[in-house]
């Protein structure tokens, strides 16, 4: 349906730059998710695509056509807002028809489209209600329906699920995934919830401080994070990171402990990272690091042990199932697979 490209896009509010020189291509039909902490510029970037904000510099292209100076509607995009932004004085049907009426579509065409979409989203019984008479989930559906009826070239979602309770959020997440499969439309979705990002996205764009940190599939991001920021932002619990100093083939930890990493320690190495499932809990005295179990969290499916390593900080260890033979206060050793470590240079970038 539509390829969306950003070329050297910048956005500044007065002297404050919120987006600096972003280049990005969203392929046709892709589900792309922007993630990042608050203030990372992810919403601003989405609003630049939507045309709700004007770029300070650079170009926005849709299917190769420059839309940088076009208004939101001319870009043929639909957007679902965090607060749903339903028109409170209009009924569900009027909410969904409004954009089509503005575009001067024939009345019967409008009715046909609204009815069809209401059918898909199971909104048929609510068409004559006002938004305030709907539940949160129903409002969310109406907001999505309003986006669909316009048959846009791409959909934009701005944290659409963050106002829903946990159970409903999971349900709506699945529905949005189904919707993407059914419509095959290009979708850009902003969230700060990395579970949403991992489960929904074809491609994730990680943003921090107005710059793209990494673009890739969820698994690429998880397995080969491009830098320390991505490494710690993607994955829950987050990746364990320890500061080290390489000396030949050994590395020295901040507490003076040394470990032989063989040929794996490049000269610029400054941090090593390993996911909670990439570290093994061993008996005291064994493995590469020694520490004390502080807290044990039992989720049933997994057990997390938080192990204090003195001045090195805390390391989280994930074990499948309910592991019974550990308790707080226990002295343990930690075993790393030195061939699987994520290595980062002092500027935070990944060392392959």
């Amino acid at each position: 349906m539509a390829v969306i490209e950003l070329k050297d896009v910048r956005k500044a509010f007065g002297a404050v730059e919120v987006i600096g020189r972003v280049n990005l291509t969203v392929p046709d039909g892709a589900f792309v998710i922007f993630v990042g902490p608050s203030g990372s510029g992810k919403s601003t970037l989405l609003r630049l695509v939507a045309g709700l904000e004007d770029a300070t510099a650079g170009q926005v292209l849709i299917d190769g056509a420059d839309v940088t100076h076009m208004g939101p509607a001319e870009r043929q995009l639909s957007m679902v807002f965090q607060s749903y932004a339903l028109y409170p004085t209009k009924t569900v049907r009027q909410n969904m028809s409004f954009g089509l009426e503005v575009a001067r579509l024939p009345k019967d065409e409008i009715k046909a489209r609204v009815d069809r979409v209401a059918d898909i989203l199971k909104l048929g019984d609510y068409l004559d209600r006002k938004p305030r008479a709907l539940s949160g989930g129903q409002r969310q559906r109406v907001a999505i329906g309003r986006a669909i009826v316009r048959e846009p070239v791409a959909f934009l979602f701005d944290e659409p699920l963050s106002n829903l309770d946990a159970a409903l959020r999971v349900e709506m997440r699945v529905e949005i995934a189904k919707l993407h499969q059914r419509l095959g439309a290009t979708m850009i979705y902003v969230t700060h919830d990395q579970v949403e990002a991992m489960t929904l996205a074809d491609q994730i764009v990680v943003l921090d401080k107005g710059a793209i940190q990494q673009v890739g599939t969820p698994m690429e991001l998880y397995q080969r994070p491009a830098n320390l920021f991505v490494a710690q932002f993607i994955g829950s619990p987050k990746m364990n990171v320890l500061e080290v100093r390489p000396e030949g083939s050994t590395v020295t930890f901040a507490d003076g402990n040394r470990t032989d990493f063989g040929a794996l320690a490049p000269a610029t190495l400054s941090h090593i990272g390993f996911r909670p499932e990439e570290v093994e809990l061993l008996a005291e005295g064994q493995g590469h690091l020694q520490g004390t179990v502080e807290v044990v969290e039992r989720l049933g499916s997994d057990t997390f042990a938080h192990v204090a390593l003195g001045m090195l900080g805390t390391v989280t260890v994930r074990m499948p199932g309910n592991v019974l033979n550990i308790a707080p206060g226990q002295r343990v050793g930690l075993g790393l697979d030195v061939t699987q470590l994520h290595l980062f240079a002092s500027d935070g970038t990944r060392l392959s």
């Binding site: 349906m1 208004g71 509607a73 001319e74 043929q76 503005v102 575009a103 001067r104 579509l105 065409e109 316009r150 048959e151 846009p152 070239v153």
Partner: protein, 303 residues
């Protein structure tokens, strides 16, 4: 229908974009604002720099009118009256308004809605008519206050005598505007979240302590704003003395307040140039006093 077809459809172009829109929305108000506020001010400032000469029409005199006004005892007497009036009236009015708002907000009393609405009703009565009614009430022969006093065997004071006149005018202002301020405080008090109240109950605070120590400080910004508006209103006093003058010619002269003075200068004395200078000087006094009050109040809050 596919999206290609929609794209081909002639759209109704958005002519008013969001850059132009705010100016369009502001235009009617701002044009009138300029025509009936900015322009008259500039005009007034302009004429305040001229003087009608005995012969040869008007001539440019620069700041002469201001120099004269600055040294004009009639102007400063008027300002003095206003200061006395403001110091007498504003604290009483704001004080009663606050106390009543706190009482109504605490919910202790019966008939809350009734008191709230009835205290506000005088605000709907035009100041002219309020002044007329009170001047009847003040009347020595037919006024019911005098009648009651005589019935009880003593003589009521002469409300329009030099000694009582300012109090009599202040009373009219109290009657008219107390309820207005009370309603504003009441709304501000009601806007304070109830979980705060619950927290203070848990802390063991009494209703009185809660009202005075927690709620009152929270509406201080609102109080400051209303006091500033009261100062501005008080310093512009005109209607009440202008009408009461009918009853007390010997006490209220034509320069009793600066606004009154400017009015007389223009329409009786035929000196609009000098009147303009007086008005500007009064504007200056109002700005200085309001600003000084805000500065003082804000410094108190910061501390």
């Amino acid at each position: 229908m596919t999206e290609r077809e929609i794209r081909a459809r002639p759209r109704n172009r958005v002519i008013v974009n969001k850059t132009v829109a705010p100016y369009l929305f502001l235009a009617p108000f701002m044009l009138l604002f300029i025509a009936f506020l900015i322009v008259p001010l500039i005009y007034a400032f302009d004429i305040s720099l001229y003087k009608k000469a005995m012969v040869g029409g008007v001539k440019f005199v620069g700041t002469d009118n201001y120099v004269k006004a600055f040294a004009d005892p009639k102007f400063w007497e008027g300002v003095g009256v206003l200061f006395k009036f403001a110091f007498l009236q504003i604290p009483v009015m704001i004080g009663t308004a606050l106390v009543f708002a706190l009482i109504l907000d605490s919910g202790v009393v019966w008939a809350k809605a009734f008191f709230r609405v009835s205290f506000f009703i005088p605000y709907a009565v035009p100041a002219v008519i309020a002044t007329l009614i009170w001047s009847y009430l003040y009347g020595p022969a037919y006024g019911p206050i005098g009648q009651t006093a005589r019935f009880l065997g003593f003589e009521a004071p002469d409300f329009v005598s030099a000694k009582w006149i300012l109090g009599s005018i202040a009373n009219i202002a109290q009657w008219e505007y107390m309820g207005y301020n009370m309603i504003i405080y009441f709304a501000a008090l009601q806007a304070i979240p109830t979980d705060l109240e619950e927290a203070s109950v848990v802390d063991g605070a009494s209703a009185f302590a809660f009202a005075t120590r927690i709620k009152l400080p929270m509406i201080v910004p609102t109080i400051i704003v209303t006091v500033v508006f009261s100062i501005i209103g008080s310093l512009q006093l005109f209607t009440e003395p202008f009408l009461i003058q009918n009853m007390a010619r010997s006490i209220i002269n034509s320069n009793y307040t600066p606004n009154y003075y400017a009015y007389t200068l223009t329409f009786v004395g035929q000196q609009p140039n000098y009147a303009a200078a007086i008005s500007f000087l009064l504007g200056g006094v109002i700005a200085v006093v309001s600003y000084a009050f805000m500065l003082l109040a804000n410094r108190r809050i910061d501390r």
